[in-house]
């Protein structure tokens, strides 16, 4: 499925660029992302605890960044597979200055959702993707605005934020582990356009939404 969307992030373009290509940021903003393992330059293996409501599960895949034209654009390739389905996506991301304080992000994704989920999940996929996209952009924006710590109490689970990201070296490969966190409150205001669909999220395997790959 082809999906496009855009969002406004409240930081200058170079900071947005830095955040989106920083595994330390990604690991704490990608919905459900538990671990990013760097296996090469701009190449990560991801472990994602993905899902909707209490239907959730562990999912593993990989993420590559390419075609980096800093600070204008890059392409993300994401793929992964679980028992009930597969997901792969190429996401073209473009950043444009809105003003000195904010950046408009546009993305074009070509996502392939295969397996059982592709055949029976149609009714729900875009809705779930959109919800997850909002979550992701809000989380990134929170990081950019330095209010990441503020997000968690909003959903009322105490004591799960503010923990440092753990970086452990496993052989040569840095491994980024997300701190425990609650789901950030989403803010639709940061997402533009009626057809915003979170294909970006495909890289987190979250398009599988309600999959559980046990």
């Amino acid at each position: 499925m082809k999906v496009t969307g855009s969002a406004v992030l409240h930081a200058p373009r170079d900071r947005v660029w830095a955040a989106l290509t920083d595994p330390e940021v990604l690991v704490r903003t990608l919905p459900g992302c538990q671990q990013l393992e760097q296996v090469g330059p701009d190449y990560y293996k991801a472990t994602v605890y993905a899902g909707v409501a209490s239907i959730k599960g562990l999912f593993s895949g990989e993420v590559k960044l390419s075609d980096r034209i800093e600070p204008d654009s890059f392409v993300m390739h994401a793929s992964g597979a679980g028992g009930p389905g597969t997901v792969s996506a190429d996401v073209q991301v473009r950043l444009a200055e809105v003003d000195g304080a904010s950046t408009r992000l546009d993305y074009d994704a070509d996502a392939v959702i295969g397996g059982m989920i592709g055949g029976v999940g149609q009714r729900m996929l875009t809705g779930v993707a959109k919800r997850t996209a909002e979550e992701f952009f809000t989380a990134v924006d929170d990081v950019l605005l330095g209010r990441a710590e503020l997000a968690a109490p909003a959903v009322g689970v105490p004591g799960v934020t503010g923990a440092p990201i753990e970086i452990a070296a496993e052989g040569e490969r840095p491994v980024y582990t997300a701190p425990p966190r609650a789901r950030p409150a989403t803010s639709v205001a940061t997402v533009l356009g009626s057809a915003v669909v979170g294909a970006l999220i495909a890289l987190a395997g979250v398009l599988i939404g309600w999959l559980i790959a046990r």
Partner: protein
């Protein structure tokens, strides 16, 4: 298509159920009617490690009717609520909408509270709860809280029920005086998920003029959409009211997605058309109860 293995819990009371939930956290799911959960499991899209079967918990059964509304326990089947004359008398929209929930055979097992907790954006009862301003009561081992409809539906298939919580009942306020209700929807086949569904509440005054008019819509957004169209109708003679402005307002408000059965544009169009029809029916009923 066979479900994956899970540990089966059949607690003897709600506290025991909550203990299990607290322990297994997000690896657990409540099994009530199972009419959405079991197919998800058979397709292996869901694979909870633990199922907590609440079907035997009599304390979660029963429909309690008051003048102010209808309280529905967690194990009440759609069919039971649909057939309950007292509930119909207090809040007719329940039966009007439940008649569109899948097929009777599914309604014999599926639970009303379960379908709210499942938060399917095409679920009729989500919009009924939202339109009526109802609540869902949820309990965990630590606390009980009552969540208003406006805060209950967070996203597609995502409700405010946390992994350690059990939705114990839902509360649907009574139909106010001089008010009529209606539900209408378009689906591809009889019993399918609605392409668009609309519930309406219209209140008239003694002079048979419209006072308030509100709508609850499904399948046109990630969660049920409530639109207050009173302003476009207030003061109109109910028997001569035209609903074109209200329909346009609804069309402008909803933000549906397209899918393999219908384009987003068609869904939006239907939201307008069905708004007109639901308002007309509800107004007619409001007049009936006002004479």
């Amino acid at each position: 298509m066979k479900p994956p293995p899970f540990v089966y819990h059949r607690p003897d009371n709600v506290d025991e159920a909550l203990d299990v939930l607290a322990e297994v956290a997000s690896d657990g799911k409540i099994l009530a009617g199972g009419q959405s959960l079991v197919p998800l499991m058979s397709m292996r899209l869901a694979a909870p490690g633990h199922l907590v079967d609440i079907n035997g918990l009599s304390e979660l059964g029963g429909i309690r009717i008051g003048h102010d509304g209808v309280q529905v326990g967690a194990t009440v089947r759609h069919a039971e609520l649909e057939g309950d004359e007292a509930a119909f008398a207090v809040q007719p929209l329940l039966r009007q909408a439940l008649a569109y929930v899948a097929h009777p055979t599914i309604r014999n097992r599926g639970t009303s509270v379960g379908s709210l907790a499942h938060a399917d954006p095409a679920g009729e009862l989500t919009a009924v709860l939202a339109l009526l301003g109802g609540t869902v009561t949820v309990r965990s081992r630590a606390a009980e809280r009552t969540v208003p409809a406006a805060e209950f539906f967070l996203g597609p298939l995502e409700s405010a029920v946390r992994p350690d919580e059990l939705a114990t009942s839902a509360y649907f306020p009574a139909l106010p005086p001089k008010t009529g209700s209606a539900w209408t929807e378009v689906s591809r086949r009889n019993g399918d998920y609605a392409i668009c569904g609309v519930g309406a509440l219209v209140t008239v005054d003694d002079d048979r003029r419209i006072v308030t008019a509100r709508l609850g819509l499904i399948s046109v957004g990630p969660t049920p959409v409530v639109v207050d169209v009173s302003e476009s109708l207030v003061g109109q003679r109910a028997n001569a009211a035209t609903f074109a402005d209200a329909a346009r307002l609804v069309e402008d408000t909803v933000d549906p997605e397209g899918d393999i059965h219908a384009t987003a544009e068609y869904r939006r169009h239907l939201a307008g058309v069905l708004t007109g029809r639901a308002l007309a029916n509800a107004t007619e009923r409001a007049l009936e109860v006002t004479t």
